[in-house]
Subunit: 278 residues, 2 copies
Amino acid sequence: MIGVFDSGIGGLTIVKELLKKLPGLSLIYFGDTARTPYGTKSPETIIAYAIQDTEFLLEHGAKLIVVACHSASSVATESLRQRFPEVPIFEVVTPSVKKALQVTRKKIIGVIGTRATISSGIYQRKVAELDKEVKVYGNACPLLVPLVEEGWIKKPETRRIVKKCLIPLKMRGIDTLVLGCTHYPVLKPIIQAKAGKRVTLVDPAEEVAEQVADFLKKEPVILDQLTRGEEHKIYVSDLTESFERIARLFMGQKVKLLKADCEISHVIKPTPFKASHI
Amino acid sequence: MIGVFDSGIGGLTIVKELLKKLPGLSLIYFGDTARTPYGTKSPETIIAYAIQDTEFLLEHGAKLIVVACHSASSVATESLRQRFPEVPIFEVVTPSVKKALQVTRKKIIGVIGTRATISSGIYQRKVAELDKEVKVYGNACPLLVPLVEEGWIKKPETRRIVKKCLIPLKMRGIDTLVLGCTHYPVLKPIIQAKAGKRVTLVDPAEEVAEQVADFLKKEPVILDQLTRGEEHKIYVSDLTESFERIARLFMGQKVKLLKADCEISHVIKPTPFKASHI
């Protein structure tokens, strides 16, 4: 099976693209809704979670991993490849960078994402590896995730917040904008309108699905290991009506979910601080 | 020590009130920033987390627990009292209900909170136990938490979202409004302006601190068990610059934090779903 994980439900946009590009292959998804979101958390915590998520998918039969979460892709990919050297691991940053470099004319690229993604500076590093002349500007837009999750897709407040979010990038003269968070493609029409017609949007979901499909064409041995079938498993670490509603929003259709046993184990050991005279 | 836990940093508003009301007593705080927020998660998950948080505080010397998180107070208090029958456990809902009943003139109370808090119906039940004639209307305002955490305290978008959030409650004619989430007191001026001058705001932080102080006056044996001292310990399960910034916002002053070792253990076992034909 192809294993896909995300901090929550947003990664289903990538599942949708994978199913389009790779019909007939069986998928297993893990959304860590009990600890969502990742984008506000520290790199160390995101790495620990990404390793646990990957272990879960491998234990359940995944032979190839797609990191759908941009925050995890940005800070945890290297750790995952070190920890699981035998597993092909795909992430959303590299294919987005390649696409952005293909489409930029002025060589000025913008990226929007969570605080974890933008602070990582991963886009700047990846672009510099391929083309030192291209400039990359990032801006963290953490409010867009809750706005999408609340279904505020067409509200004037959302339009205003998107506009504010893009101002610093527009001032840099970007002609290409990477939607660096699984939730943002849902806001594509507003983002396009506020970025302007001349800015090309890069949707990582399409790019990573394309990359996985290309890889499997060249690696028939791995392709043979993947299960065929129309049955896909979607696991979440927590279930609420909201998560079901968001799943419909991202998949563009109703997703039939069956709840099974949920067992919650050890607490994350906290980081202790001493604060005197507060 | 007095132990206080919250899903994140917001509970520091309650620490601030406790320090005012109980000077000289030593405090230990646990903010579950690695899994924050709780308010979007299911009751089962919130209960499991609340038990783990309480165990952490008890292991570190707490003799009395204050549940600062409204979502945990709303859905997990009963489970905590069953699990730890020997420990005095305080939560934010009961004292807020008592205060709201004292101040309402028209007997119509509004409550704003997270989805978990409002869906629990706890305010309606608690009020009905004390006065069946009083009407309680709740509205979930999940966007206010990220707006506060991003520091968008005075932005026009925040004012508009607060206004929208209060419309259904104003239409019911409320004269009292419970700020049912640790983050909301930061927005007090906007909430007061949008609710109208005639609406009395109830801040649970003040009420719970008062309740703990009253309890300790009557229970000298428990008071004697509590450590005295000016040194307080603030633990978080994850640390980022943002969390430090939010801590300053809630405490109203800079909080000196010392980072110590962080060890992250087992993953939350996920709830499996089968989704066919997605």
